[in-house]
């Protein structure tokens, strides 16, 4: 039997609205890392040596050429990188040599990139967080709630954000973002 073909939650959605581009980031793999209690230092060291990233403070992310590491909470982080989703987690597990507990989260989330001038006007209809440069600079990351859906927001660049939400409600999430765009542009 032939191997199964993956279908991203939004089928690889990609649209532009004026100068704004909204795109499903179906190429991304997400792996969550949990720091074992008492062995946090070893975990941080392993992350540093294998991923060449320092574990950032909560609310921030650290990036290198290939990976973004978001601190999700006191003992949890999420690694985002372009990869074959299916193999991402074992690869990370191997790289970290068991220094962190890993869970593949790729399929739990849908990721949308929203970028372009005026992006904050769209987001202020959705996102309760303060996205001013001083309080939410590039590489800041946070979980919050948007239109009744749990969501994560990451500022990739000055005018570019990645929004993540549950994959099961991907359609509703996309609808919420599209509606915001429609209401302000």
């Amino acid at each position: 039997m032939a191997s199964l073909t993956p279908a991203p939650p939004l089928g690889g959605y990609d649209m532009t609205f004026g100068e704004l581009r909204l795109r499903e980031c179906s190429e991304l793999a997400l792996v969550s890392l949990a720091l074992p209690l008492g062995d946090e230092a070893a975990a941080k060291k392993a992350i540093k040596s294998s991923l060449k990233l320092d574990l950032p403070a909560p609310g921030m992310s650290a990036v290198n050429d290939t990976h973004r590491l978001i601190r999700m909470g006191p003992d949890q982080a999420m690694l985002i990188f372009a990869d074959d989703a299916a193999l991402a987690e074992p690869a990370v597990q191997t790289a970290l040599k068991g220094a962190c507990y890993t869970t593949n989260q790729t399929d739990a989330w849908v990721a949308l990139s929203l970028a372009g001038p005026g992006v904050r006007d769209v987001l202020e209809r959705l996102c309760p967080l303060d996205l001013h440069d001083a309080t939410f600079p590039v590489d800041a990351a946070a979980r919050t709630v948007m239109e009744h859906m749990g969501a994560m927001i990451v500022r990739e660049e000055q005018d570019g954000f990645v929004l993540l939400s549950a994959s099961s409600s991907a359609g509703s999430f996309l609808h919420a973002v599209e509606t915001s765009i429609g209401y302000v542009t």
Binding site: M1, A2, S3, L4, T5, P6, A7, P8, P9, S32, A34, P36, L37, G38, D75, Q76, A85, A86, Y101, T103, N104, Q105, T106, D107, A108, W109, E124, R125, C127, P128, L129, D130, L131, H132, T135, E147, H148, M149, A166, S167, S168, S169, G171, S172, F173, H175, A176, T179, S180, G182, Y183
Partner: protein, 967 residues
Amino acid sequence: MSQSNRLTGGLIDRSVSVNFSFNGKNMQGFQGDTLASALLANGQRLVGRSFKYHRPRGIFSAGSEEPNALVQLRKGAAQEPNTRATMAELFDGLEATSQNHRGSLERDFMALTDLFAPFLSAGFYYKTFMWPKAFWERVYEPIIRSSAGLGRLSMQPDPDVYDHGYMHCDLLIIGAGPAGLAAALAAGRSGAQVVVADEDFLPGGRLNAETYAVEDMAGADWAAQAWAELQAMDNVRCMTRTTVYGAYDHGIYGALERRTDHLAASEGRPRQVLWRVYSRRAVLSAGATERSIAFPMNDRPGVMLAGAVRTYVNRYGVAPGKRVAVFTNNDDGLRTAADLKAQGVEVTGIIDARKGESLATTWGRKGLTAVGTASGRSIEADCLAVSGGWSPNVHLTCHQRGRPDWREDIAAFVPGADLPPGMSVAGAANGAMTLAAALKEGHAAACAALGDLGLSPAAGDAPKAEDETFDIKAFWHAPGKGRAWVDLQNDVTAKDVKLARTEGYRSVELLKRYTTLGMATDQGKTSNMLGLAVLAEASGKSIPDTGTTIFRPPYSPVAMGAFAGRARGKDFRPNRLTPSHKWAEEQSATFVTTGNWLRAQWFAQAGEKGWRDSVDREVVQTRRSVGICDVTTLGKIDIQGRDAAEFLNRIYSNAFLKLPVGKVRYGLMLREDGICYDDGTTARFSENHFVMTTTTANAVLVFRRMEFARQCLWPDLDVHLISTTDAWAQFAVAGPNARALLGKVVDDLDLSNEGFPFMACAECTVCGGTPGRLFRISFSGELAFEVAVPARYGDAMIRALMQAGEEFGAIPYGTEALGVMRIEKGHAAGNELNGQTTAANLGLGMMVSKKKDSIGSKLSEREEMNRDDGLRLVGLHPVDRNDMLNAGAHFVELDDHHPDMFSDQGYMTSVAWSPELSHSIGLGFVKRGKDRIGDIVRAYDPVRGKDTKVEIVSAHHIDPEGVRQRG
């Protein structure tokens, strides 16, 4: 009648004329008019009827405090009741109609009520309409209801859309009058993040209505220039048509922005946006509201606040009357007369209460014709400008239950000391009644707020203006015969206030409730102060000793649609779809809402007459061969850590410490109070790695409670939780051919009973390399597996499973068939795990280990929860096999001729038609049920007119030994 009252000047655009209609009559106004100013320009004085006596009413104010001029705006589904004509901007094609009359506005049949006014004093309805008893609901109440109320809803869905938004700022400035503009300029120039909002479409506040100068230019020009400067700043958000309606905890303010109300149509854009403003500091510069004086017959169309008269004359270039009299207790009356004269309007008299003058009556049935002074003089006037002084708009200072303070010198309440944290008040809202003082206070308040935040204000002083005088002598109530209105909309008179006091309703709060004073759509903006003063006068006490007036949100009424935002219709809550949703749609599935999930309920096939046909077929084919069900919605929690097993052992009431790797165990979770909470299976994939499933309904709650246990109860256990519900697509494959089917799909795994026995689990690959997980668990009672793949492979997986099952006649089954099979098998589900049942009730008492401490174990031991005569889960069969059972029926004894709550023996929780048994079956709780197997009782269902004999049987209707699932 073509703008007969239009003067020259004003801040309207005379180059753009605007057509509108009132009660079907076509009129014209100009861009920049409100409906009120345009009606006045056209000489329309009568605009509505009062609530109780249906008295003729005219425009009373020029702002959001308007109690009289409420109209039904627009037509059809877009019509909007109770719209203040003073706030409605004129647009081309605007249609307005008056409210609360039977017959025409001019000849309101209900005006007869006014003749009976002596019998309709405050609270009269509490004293009558009690006899005969049956008449209240049949006669009296319908009459009262149909004459009460003001405007009408269209009863059609609101055609507009609404939105929400979030703003964050260092400083929120509420009101863009002189104080607010001065504050905004100071804060904006300093670089702070500023939001400045004003309810008007033209910023400037009273500067647009008066003839003052600021910085040596006309006040309105200065306001426009200041606004332009603010708009040019990146750090300042300038918002007009935006009412900050509420002050909530910790610097959060609610603001309503009206975006399309001034347009003929909103064309799919949000009509209004409700903003949640997160501010670090706020300056309230909301100005003040003028108040009237209670004098006899003070309610006629033409009686208008003096400040409003100036607004109409100066801002809109409209004369509210041809011959205007003035009644005042302060300097504003004189200013009004001067402004009128400057525009060439005749002023027929000035009655100055400070000189001991007063009014004793007025004339004019549908509009003022003359006023009569206390000294007996009659003065012709079609408009009376009244000023009883100004009440600072302290509303938002009271939203966190702060109390205002009384200031005798201005005869008004001003903000008290207990302001909402972070708020300061400036200008007239703070009792600074002159322009120069307002500008200074606004500037100073902004500088102080910035200082608080550690920001440095830009250099510069407050804008300068000449300090005019404000001299007032308190004067509330002119004695005399005839009714003196205190609340114009609700028809509360000074007499009513006194009567209520006589009857014992002495606290101002009791007074308001008894008389309805201040309960009108203006929330008492024009009436509370007068009512309080009349009460004080009647009590012989000072005003502050009598009480205060405090306010609750919203400052002015806010459309329900705006509060709801986008959450309506299908967008009320998000949809969660399973990975096989698209495929199920292709199979003509019917979907059911389970929480936010949509699940396939059954899959109809051609020729099936109703849902039962489909469900029966799905059950039969599953039990005969193999069926496939998407069970992705079950909660899944990834649990890892050195102490994961110990943790689970404390969460579940049964033992988990020694669950072998590669095995699954059924687990029962109790609440700490000993009641069953949730159940599910947990699989152990390695020493430190478990995967838990929960019920669909409780997935989020179980996760939350496990986090509580992990962080708060046992903080040093090494255990980590990740929700993976959405990460995996999971399918139950059930039936005698399940193994054969999966053998074609799962790569390299021995699925034999020996190789992969009941309650085994494994990580595997499927379909040639896709990672997956396999569990041998059964909810249906059949030989069954659940196979999981990452969600993005879910669609391909269901197709692969169906293809592999073709040779067995595999069918998909939905939640109905799932339910039938679990009832046949006797598994408890949501209807049984209803939060009221114990493990003993469910027959699972043995699962609560007494050898360890787990959540709920201790409190599950309490005596009443372990009574021998308690409820037990049993099965039920109809004695007459043709009878259909109903869930929700109660059980009563055969000879119980008068069943009541105390002879009640239990209730039916779930029912199904069993294709296997060919009759209806049920599950239910019966007192001492386990001892009553074989007994006959009645399923008593009076609400559906049924009373059915049923036999109590084992809950396991089929395969009680579990041979099939272990096969």
